[in-house]
């Protein structure tokens, strides 16, 4: 635990995590912010590895880097360019900074001053199996609630993000009608109206 490699890993990962997080604060472009967030998340995943929590580390990469960040990028791309600005801060930034500094002082004080009575046992092995077993044995109710929550989030997100289907539906039905026609009628008989008349010349 005390060897050089571990030190190197911890400090570089800590720098990566905090550096990435700080860059989110100052980056002006939201897309840059998301990329810095990814860097920070990767740093946290690395820190999990130094804590011998490899299952959680892999899950962290899988969900945060592979899914959440991409989801955020998607949301950013769906809003126009003007909304990709991350530089504007709330007017309440000053009081917020004060609150944050107070929180920071108190948490740091607690973290350093408390005697945690840390024991260093051997790290868990086969974490995936253990976590899985405890999930469906001890924590079955929270597990089910979590499943329901995820489903609700899925349905809710789809319901929220679905665009009003009016014009899309009109388009789809006209396209459908055009494509399907009627199998029993000759295609030539399906008279399309688009022969332009004088009034609506061409298109």
């Amino acid at each position: 635990m005390s060897d050089f490699g571990f030190h190197l890993a911890f400090w570089s990962l800590a720098a990566m995590t905090l550096g990435g997080a700080s860059m989110i604060m100052i980056s002006r472009n939201l897309i840059h912010a998301v990329i810095w967030l990814v860097m920070s998340m990767l740093g946290v995943a690395g820190l999990y590895l130094t804590l011998s929590a490899d299952f959680i580390a892999v899950v962290q990469v899988l969900i945060y880097v592979g899914a959440i960040s991409v989801l955020m990028l998607f949301a950013i791309m769906l809003t126009p360019r003007a909304e990709r600005d991350n530089s504007q801060n709330m007017k309440t930034g000053g009081p917020a900074a004060l609150v944050v500094i107070l929180v920071m002082i108190s948490t740091l004080w607690v973290a350093i001053d408390t005697d945690w009575g840390a024991v260093r046992e051997a790290a868990l092995t086969e974490q995936a199996r253990l976590i899985g077993e405890s999930l469906i044995k001890h924590y079955i109710l929270p597990f089910e609630i979590g499943a329901v929550l995820l489903t609700a989030a899925l349905v809710g997100a789809i319901a929220l993000a679905r665009q009003d289907d009016e014009d899309a539906a009109v388009h789809a039905s006209s396209l459908q009608a055009e494509l399907e026609g009627d199998a029993s009628v000759d295609p030539v008989d399906v008279v399309d109206p688009p022969i332009p008349s004088d009034g609506e010349a061409g298109s």
Binding site: L179, D192, P194, I195
Partner: protein, 386 residues
């Protein structure tokens, strides 16, 4: 309500209309003039909402050489090489159409052997051109060049035959007013026999590879649909028109060069979509091979060029001759004022006119559909721009 309120409401409505939907802005994408699948220097300006085409506008003229003006300074014979360069993928058909128009103006009778040779080369050109059209069409559907290269093999053989006959592969300049420039070389007919013997198997291969390909069906069927009424009204011609079910083929409707003597059929589609255009081309290749077989069997002897003075001055008048080129109805409209050069030289370019309905075909589909539709129309930019 005051006037300013009206204006404000109208502006608000505009803003809402612009930002409705899922909030994404329409994106204008330029396909071309330098783009892997625009078949030359053709530019399509597509307005996209997501992947859906909202508007398609074509910009052409990158290859405009003003041939119609240049032709007014050259004699009737000197104009034949221009026609090669109008549709450089079907030079023989263009030679033929122009020579027919000039012959109508000059009142020249073409010898039967010349007519048979003309039919032979026009049909060979159709085989080559359709091979190219279908190959690039499958490429536009996203295949990785495999069908294209197989079809190019056939095209190469046709071009080899052109080369042994007139020395050029692409811009042949083979037809003359009153016939063809040279008689067939001795080695042509055996080569052609071999070609005709090999083609059925090749076509069977393509059909096995492509016709039941589900992905190709999914990409090409129901895409770029146009109704027969709209097709006729838009002056579409060739395979694009026939795919809608309209059996209009000038070789049957207005036989030239003795097409009435040959047995062949006009394949027509049903839906008027991209896949039907592809199928019509595949079927037309078979019909062309049928014609070629008959031409080879009944090739008459005799002169291959009528006695036409090089320095011909036709009487004042005009002529309009059309042939069924691989791309559609190719016409040449010539006006003579009695001078050595045409007073007016006009080409009815099927590629250009078939593009009339491109916008209607591609709006509402996706970007990928627009590319497939463009590929299925089979344009040649040399002919669009002239």
């Amino acid at each position: 309500m005051t006037m300013s309120d009206d204006t404000r409401l109208a502006m608000q409505g505009t803003i809402e209309a612009l930002t409705s939907g899922d909030g994404s802005e329409p994106v204008v994408v330029n396909l071309g003039p330098q783009h892997p699948s625009t078949h030359g220097v053709f530019r399509l300006k597509v307005t996209l909402d997501g992947e859906i085409v909202q508007d398609a506008e074509m910009r052409i003229g990158y290859l405009h050489r003003s041939m119609e003006k240049l032709a007014e300074e050259r004699t009737y014979t000197q104009n034949i090489p221009f026609t090669d360069r109008i549709d450089y993928l079907a030079a023989m058909s263009n030679n033929l159409a122009y020579c027919l128009a000039a012959e109508e103006l000059l009142g020249v009778e073409v010898p039967p052997r010349a007519n048979a040779i003309r039919v032979m080369f026009a049909e060979l050109q159709r085989v080559a051109s359709h091979a190219m059209a279908n190959g690039t069409f499958i490429n536009d559907c996203g295949a990785w060049h495999t069908p294209l290269f197989h079809m190019f093999r056939d095209r190469e053989r046709v071009l080899d035959m052109f080369e042994m006959t007139c020395g050029a592969r692409l811009t042949t300049n083979y037809m003359r007013i009153g016939g063809v420039a040279f008689d067939l070389p001795d080695e042509l007919l055996p080569t052609l026999e071999q070609f005709l013997a090999d083609m059925p198997e090749n076509i069977a291969n393509y059909e096995a590879l492509l016709l039941e390909n589900e992905i190709l069906h999914a990409r090409a069927r129901g895409i770029g649909v146009i109704s027969p009424e709209m097709a006729i009204n838009s002056s579409l011609s060739g395979p694009v028109l026939r795919a809608t079910g309209v059996p209009w083929d000038l070789r049957k409707a207005n036989p030239y060069c003795g097409y009435e003597d040959y047995e062949f059929d006009v394949p027509v589609g049903e839906q008027g979509d991209c896949f039907d255009r592809f199928l019509v081309r595949m079927a037309e290749v078979k019909e062309s091979l049928k014609i070629l077989r008959q031409v080879v069997d009944t090739l008459p002897d005799g002169p291959w060029l009528a006695d036409v003075p090089l320095h011909a001055r036709p009487d004042p008048g005009e002529s309009y001759a059309r042939v069924e080129s691989p791309r559609g109805e190719l016409g040449f409209y010539l006006v003579s004022d009695g001078g050595p050069a045409p007073y007016r030289f006009h080409c009815r370019p099927p590629s250009l006119i078939n593009l009339t309905a491109l916008k209607e075909m591609s709006i509402g589909g996706t970007l990928a559909d627009a590319i497939v539709t463009l590929g299925s129309i089979d344009i040649v930019v040399g002919e669009i721009d002239r």
